[in-house]
Amino acid sequence: MSVRSYMTAGDAVLLVSTLVLSAVLFFFMPRWVLSGGAEVEILAHDNVVGRYALDSDREVRVAGPLGTTVVEIKGGNAAIRSSPCPNKFCVHMGEFGAEGGVLVCVPNEVVVRIGTEPREGLDAVTR
């Protein structure tokens, strides 16, 4: 029994191209999908106050025990622009983009990070 008794040449071409396409996409899909699709997650006192796409510029004001921390998302990067804390370490931490990172203001209990926490369970089920 050869393969030919199971499928025609056309079938084989189709099967091989599907497998090749799948292999190619295995390499390229992460690059296409993960560029610019990232979200920043902002936490105040361990509670998530919001998730924001990195590709749209905005300013988020987060209330903490000391006052308002201003988080700025601009040009694909997130940074803490101003903070009521005494040392301003968080402001000097700079910025990060889709590659990932974290900004923390300990006195004002604000955390800015890439929202990539793995979720438990299934997203959806097909039937």
Binding site: D11, T18, S22, R127
Partner: protein
Amino acid sequence: MNDRVQKLSRLALLLALATAIHTAEALLPVTVVWFRFGFANIIGLATLYLFGFRAALFVTLGRVFLGGLASGLFGSPAFMLSLAGGLCAILAMGLAWRLFGQLLSEVGVSLVGAVAHNVAQLGVAYLILIKNPGIFLLLPLLLLTAAGTGVINGLAARFFIAQFRQVTAAA
């Protein structure tokens, strides 16, 4: 027997079979079998070869609606997914059969259907359910499973078609 009655009763049997397979497959535990085999598509494909495209469309739509009712998922996102998948699969298979019927056997046509089914489901899942482009990371994996299930279902359909012709010729 009247030819039209004969055809109607045979199509009804195919539809019943497709619905039973569709419903049984919906009951498989997702934690173990995370992808769908699409065995119900065997019947859709066989109907395409035995009775033509319109009959196959009827059987496919019928089994999606009846299967939706049987599993209590009618109108749910899961139902929308199987509707989109089933519809795209049968359209793609009808087209492949019409255009490349000389080049492809049941296996090739089934492969086209399996790929169309998975791509359509992923697209609809993105549009109505998940809305996160990260879902397309699954595409290569789904193409891989489509290659496997497409070939298996194509061979099964070839066997089914041969059996069906043999039995109905004797009747």
